[in-house]
Amino acid sequence: MNSYQKNIRNFSIIAHIDHGKSTLADRIIEKTGLVARRDMKAQFLDNMDLERERGITIKLQTTRLLYKAKDGQEYILNLIDTPGHVDFTYEVSRSLAACEGAILIVDATQGVEAQTLANVYLALDEDLEIRPVLNKIDLPSARPEEIKLEIEDVIGILADDAPLISAKEGVGIEDVLEDIVKNVPPPSGDVNGKLKALIFDSYYDSYKGVVVYVRVFDGSVKKGDMIRLMNAEKKYEVTEVGFYSPGPTTAKELRAGDVGYICASIKQAKDARVGDTVTNDANPTEEPLEGYKDPQSMVFCGIYPAEGEKYETIKDALEKLHVNDAAFNFEPETSTALGFGFRCGFLGLLHMEIIVERLEREFGLAVITTSPSVIYRVVMNDGSIQMIQNPTNLPDTIQTDHIEEPIVKADIMIPKEYVGAIMEICQERRGNMMHMEYLTETRVHLHYEMPLNEVIYDFFDALKSKTRGYGSLDYEFIRYQKSNVVKMDILLNKDLIDAFSMIVHESKAYGRGRFVCEKLKEIIPMQQFEIPIQASIGQKVIARETVRALRKDVIAKCYGGDISRKKKLLEKQKEGKKRMRQFGSVEVPQEAFTAVLKYDDNK
């Protein structure tokens, strides 16, 4: 070990959503004096407004802190925050790979949750020193002693001397810092070796290009070096290296054990992907770091300009988002109902919601999104295989031998009183229970195998709603499996509206068909003529509703020459018409597309 490394600690904070990760990060930053308390917005590391609003961290931020420990020495603490959602498992795993230790926050009132476990497994995969911390001990319902036992039983790590803290109240923060200094091992690595650094995050800066966050394992890197990204097979000249503390601070070099950023005029996020290895082009390391994966889109949907919005503006915005986020991709597609638009791929449903919301908020765009879909593996009669994610492209059943759908392993944790209700909703969604275990007397861990298409539809909403928010979920893809899925179409006034088509399991088609027809009936206003709404599989109609014709919409009296009231009413009506989408002869409000996807507790 080189002597400078002795006083470096690289660590992450891992937790289940809402257990206080971002708040603890804030307190640590505050405690080490980087940001004066009055300058702090709550949750400093979550710097996108959207994240702060939802209280979840999506995009990670990394900060270098200086801490004077009780032993009198000054330590460099590199805090690598991790995204807190199941959609971003891969990014979490790469962040963890950049560390030697992880603080595991467990809510002292709630205990171990699905994502707590999932994150622990990821940390164990990277051989990290895991340091449990019990948060929210200021709450009257905190049960620290019980939860400590739970951590030891369920996770199998010692929790006896875990710091008891309240990140919100700023209690016990120093204990956490001391714990890190004492128990997280310092980095090792040969500063004179060949450069080997891991990219664990990146973001786009309009002046510097893509800025990559790296952890240097061996060697060093400085301005002017030619670097090579080993998986992308691209070369760049380094224009700047530095740290975030928390703003960017230029440094002379980054050495083995350091965490910092590199700028090298990289144009697109996809050229510098998370997990890739940076080495020196002139003196490269032989083997890249393990664990690199191309981000795989799991969920797809169509994004179309809403009425009055231009295709080109949407395209520009999607390109900007893509530059920032390599895991999000898109390509042009055309729908007969919605015109020109884009097929977009996401890591998961939350990722999709975030992108759509950013389009609406950051770019001020109005978009229509179609039903999310997964990728189906279609085995044709001739044995060839097609991967289909757009329902419209599903080949005719005559040509196909069978269709396979993605199955995930779903880990669900719930208080035991909800077991019945959750087993029921899993059953409804074609879940297969593998086993069930009692984590403690009151908490149950259910292991299911479930089709991904059921999970993305409304499973998470249903789980939260049935467990009053106490249920938690983690899932990962395991395999493709033969399945009786069919394409269900929706017809308005006998015209097939492709944007409403979806692929569903045969056993669910009738229920979904009825649900969609009923929803559309509620939403589509009465028009000049009667509008039949039909759900069909092939030629067979499986559900039907009718929007009655508009019979009366007239103002009998306009009194005393006051036409302003009537005019306002007509203007409002005109506005309403503008928000509608013309499908053949039928006008459909844009909210119809999202409404047919909403989980309905009463169904």
Partner: protein
């Protein structure tokens, strides 16, 4: 010389009807009424200076219930108008009335000051229904009032009728129409009862105390009414109005033809020289300022406003609008102006809701039923 129609608002009622959301309130106090009329006289004097270049060819005294005013008040108003404005010789002068408030003396007074058209709020020839909607008069009162009006010399009379009253059946509506026609008025207005938020009737509806007529029943009564009146010799000339030949209300036609009209009194609306404006609705303020308050709303119409208003007011008339008049007023042809809406307009035409014949565009009877939906295209 340019013409204008004068509207004068009298906001007082003996009792407010359960369905009414007009600007009116229960007030029998002679002193308040007198002060209000004072303010009206003053406003007339103020306004006439601004519009010296106009002559008045219609006056409409509406409410509320103008006939609630004690004897002499209407005379003061008309006299003041005559002193202040140039009057056309054959001006149409209308007063609205409630049968429960009309007396022989008042009717004689109205005739004496030159009022030549009487509008009577009858609503129904069914005592039960009258009671249900909170009217203060009976069918007997209606007959008495109409007889007295004839005796006083009124030969141009309008009767207001209402359908889709809770519990209304086609039979009852037929009976009311029949009795109305027997009275032989020049003009009949027939309105579908509207449930307006904030009225006692609306509250009762919200609490589920009655079922309003369905859209189908309502439209059936409406079309039945039109046919009945046509057979009785009346011409259907506006969505809710029918008249014997030459019996149309000239004043109301100004509203639907974008002609100038000037409103006097609280809440009164005006359209003069392409500008829409309205008075305060606050009677205390109005009296305190002696009718000289500033405008509550004041809108200089844009071309878009003009086009939209021309269309949606004009389409209320059964004869519809004149495309050449559109072009003359707006300086653009109808088809150029509404080119973006062309498909929608064609669809209404193809489906038989709108009719385009030569230079005229009008709503069909079927189109009237969904007129808001169609008019919204043009605003």
């Amino acid at each position: 010389m340019k013409k204008l129609g004068l509207y004068i608002h009298i906001p007082f009622c003996k009792k407010k009807c359960v369905y009414c959301d007009f600007l009116s309130f229960e007030c029998d106090d002679f002193l308040v009424q007198n002060k209000y009329v004072d303010a009206i006289l003053n406003e007339v004097e103020l306004k006439c200076r601004e519009y010296a270049g106009y002559s008045v060819d219609t006056i409409f005294i509406g409410g509320g219930t103008p006939s609630i005013l004690q004897e002499g008040q209407i005379e003061r108003i008309i006299k003041k108008v005559r002193e202040s404005f140039r009057m056309c010789e054959n001006a149409e002068i209308t007063i609205e009335s409630n049968p429960g408030t009309l007396t022989r003396e008042k009717l004689t007074e109205y005739r004496r000051v030159g009022i030549n058209r009487l509008s009577v709020g009858v609503q129904s020839f069914d005592d039960e229904l009258l009671k249900l909607i909170g009217r203060i008069h009976t069918v007997e009162d209606v007959r008495d009032s109409l007889r007295e009006a004839r005796n006083a010399g009124f030969d141009n009379i309008n009767i207001d009728l209402m359908f889709s009253i809770p519990g209304h059946s086609k039979e009852k509506w037929h009976a009311t129409l029949e009795k109305a026609v027997e009275m032989d008025p020049q003009h009949i207005s027939f309105y579908s009862l509207q449930l307006e938020e904030g009225t006692p009737l609306f509250e009762a509806f919200k609490q589920g105390k009655f079922n309003p007529a369905s859209d189908e029943e309502d439209r059936e009564m409406y079309h039945y009414g039109i046919n009945f009146l046509k057979e009785a010799g009346y011409q259907h000339y506006e969505i809710s109005n029918a008249a014997k030949p030459q019996g149309e209300c000239k004043h109301n036609m100004k509203y639907w033809s974008m002609q100038d009209y000037l409103g006097i009194g609280i809440g009164a609306h005006s359209f003069m020289r392409g500008i829409r404006f309205s008075n305060t609705s606050d009677i205390r303020e109005y009296i305190a300022e002696s009718g000289g308050c500033g405008y509550k709303t004041y809108t200089v119409n844009s071309i878009r406003d003009d086009a939209g208003e021309f269309m949606f007011t004009g389409l209320r008339k059964v004869e519809g609008i004149d495309l050449s008049e559109f072009e003359q007023r707006l300086g653009t042809s109808f088809f150029d102006f509404y080119a973006p809406e062309q498909d929608e307009i064609n669809e209404y035409i193809n489906n038989g809701f709108l009719e385009l014949r030569g230079d005229k565009m009008r709503l069909t009877e079927k189109g009237i039923d969904i007129s808001n939906d169609i008019m919204a295209v043009f605003v």
